[in-house]
């Protein structure tokens, strides 16, 4: 029973991290129709920036996270210009183009920070809470809390603000969006910058839970992408629910299958996607996809 509960806690914590990653995938896809495989590498850049600020500059963690979000967001503006020709292209090209860009980011990170990576100390040092015999580390609660806040903020932004609604409109109908006066290029750039900021937030938060290195994006990116797909690609609540599902799937298969955890996870994932191809919440279709 305790293992079961603890596995749930672990799964939810993983899920919270994946949620932050999946939100970025979902946002960029929903507003731009771009499947961005470089997202996890943007995350890695964000993690490095935050780590640099905390470890070398000794800034408070929250400040470092904010700085990382802002800086990575600005970097995102440049990346978007670079990737702009790929928006709305066929999937093969998006796939290889953004993967290629991810490799560029990885090598740039290696050149700046070296290949060996960096450990980031946990910013919260209090004892874990114990709930029904399961320990819930306080930092995990922070991550989950931030994930929930990020989801709500993103939903509010997309549903309630002028800019957010306009971004959705761009993805739904390019020409009609132009006709009502939306500067489509700028809208996309901002959407991508927000996605990059989200990636930075995710990266900064997972830094202390993992180890920051140029290759850290790999498996987080795949799990985050799987989460976004599972929830219904482009759906904001779907990203979070999908992420929690993938997190739980991961931790339970680790429990039951030990070394064969990945095998179990991905076979199950394939089966779920085949049964429900549009995900739990249905794909938020963009016109071009």
């Amino acid at each position: 029973m305790q293992v079961f509960l603890q596995t749930i806690v672990g799964g939810l914590n993983l899920g919270a991290v994946y949620a932050l990653v999946a939100l970025g995938f979902a946002l960029v896809y929903r507003t731009m129709g771009l499947v961005n495989f470089a997202h996890a590498d943007v995350l890695m850049i964000g993690a490095y920036i935050a780590a640099t600020f905390t470890v070398s500059q000794h800034l408070p963690f929250a400040v470092a996270v904010l700085a990382s979000i802002v800086i990575t967001g600005v970097i995102g503006l440049f990346i978007e210009r670079f990737l702009r020709p790929l928006e709305g292209r066929d999937f093969d090209l998006m796939l290889i183009g953004t993967i290629g860009f991810g490799i560029v980011l990885e090598s740039v990170a290696t050149l700046i920070w070296g290949a060996t990576g960096e450990a980031v100390p946990s910013p919260v040092q209090t004892r874990p809470l114990v709930v029904f015999g399961a320990s819930v580390p306080t930092y995990d609660l922070v991550v989950m809390g931030v994930a929930v806040v990020a989801m709500l903020a993103l939903s509010l932004f997309l549903e309630r603000t002028r800019r957010g609604v306009a971004m959705q409109a761009v993805a739904m109908d390019y020409d009609a969006a132009k006709a009502v006066g939306i500067n489509v290029g700028r809208s996309n750039a901002i959407a991508f910058a927000i996605g990059a900021g989200l990636a930075a937030l995710a990266g900064a938060l997972v830094g202390p839970e993992l180890y920051v290195s140029p290759t850290m994006g790999g498996s987080i990116g795949i799990d985050g992408f799987a989460a976004a797909i599972l929830g219904g690609f482009g759906s904001i609540p779907g990203a979070v629910v999908g992420a929690l599902a993938v997190g739980l799937l991961n931790s339970f298969s680790a429990d039951y299958f030990q070394g064969y955890a990945d095998l179990a996870t991905f076979v199950l994932f394939a089966v779920i996607v085949m049964i429900k191809p549009t995900g739990l919440f249905g794909e938020k279709t963009v016109l071009r996809a």
């Binding site: 002028r162 306009a166 009609a176």
Partner: protein, 246 residues
């Protein structure tokens, strides 16, 4: 019918000269010229594939203008890109409605007023559109995609009216609608004219165009083949022949 959306009387004239459109090697529109006086309603009619929609899209800047000039009032809009047109007072109702189907009716309307701001800046215009189209007020929270065809058409028109344009371009508002609804569209267009707006109406439904405008162009194969008062064209059986291939 309320006239709350009426723009202040304006004095701008639309002048289009030698507008051409090419898709690849195909000439869709060949050197089309016309002008619309302030408060005038002009119709462009013709059979399917005559180049009416391409003319309108080129005017809006949604497809590249291969040649020609576009002036509205003092401004030369020949090089203006599509998203700036609304700031010059030009509203656009696309062919096939093209409402943002995943967004609510109200958000569609607010997006219509995107260039002016968001809820605060658009509240008055929003009330005006709701007054004009009460059914949209009833449906305000529904996703636009769930509306019926006629309601979507009203939404598309309402969206174009949100920024209080002085000129509205409408592309086949009657498409796929029942005769009764076409009648309603006619009433709406008459109302817009009465409010002092200039209209450019592209229609396959000639009777609607005749009813809503005072002057029409007839297009065939990318060219203007006839032009004249509605009364004259209505009597001219060449129009009917052009349509029915007689």
């Amino acid at each position: 019918m309320s006239t709350a959306v009426a723009a202040p009387p304006h004095t701008r004239q639309l002048r289009v000269e030698d507008l051409s459109v090419r898709y690849g090697g195909v000439r869709a529109v060949e050197s089309v010229s016309f002008s619309i006086a302030p408060g005038e309603a002009l119709g462009i009619i013709g059979a399917n594939g005559a180049g009416k929609t391409s003319t309108l899209r080129a005017l809006m800047g949604l497809v590249p203008r291969a040649a020609g000039t576009v002036r509205y009032g003092e401004r030369n809009l020949t090089k203006a890109s599509a998203h700036t047109m609304v700031r010059h007072g030009i509203g656009y109702v696309p062919e096939g409605r093209h409402v943002f189907s995943g967004l609510s009716v109200e958000k569609n309307l607010l997006l219509g007023g995107y260039s002016r701001g968001w809820r605060k800046a658009n509240q008055e215009a929003l009330d005006g559109v709701y007054a004009r189209f009460p059914v949209l007020a009833e449906m305000a929270g529904r996703p636009a995609g769930a509306l019926s065809g006629g309601q979507q058409q009203m939404l598309a028109i309402g969206r174009a009216l949100m920024p209080k344009p002085s000129l509205v371009l409408l592309d086949e508002p009657s498409m796929g609608l029942s005769p009764k609804l076409v009648e309603e569209i006619l009433d709406i267009l008459t109302g817009l004219r009465a409010a002092g707006l200039s209209l450019l109406l592209v229609e396959q439904n000639a009777e609607l165009a005749f009813g809503a405008t005072g002057r029409c162009l007839v297009m065939e194969n990318g060219r203007v083949v006839m032009e004249g008062d509605v009364a004259r064209l209505r009597a001219d059986d060449r129009v009917q022949r052009s349509y029915l291939g007689l």
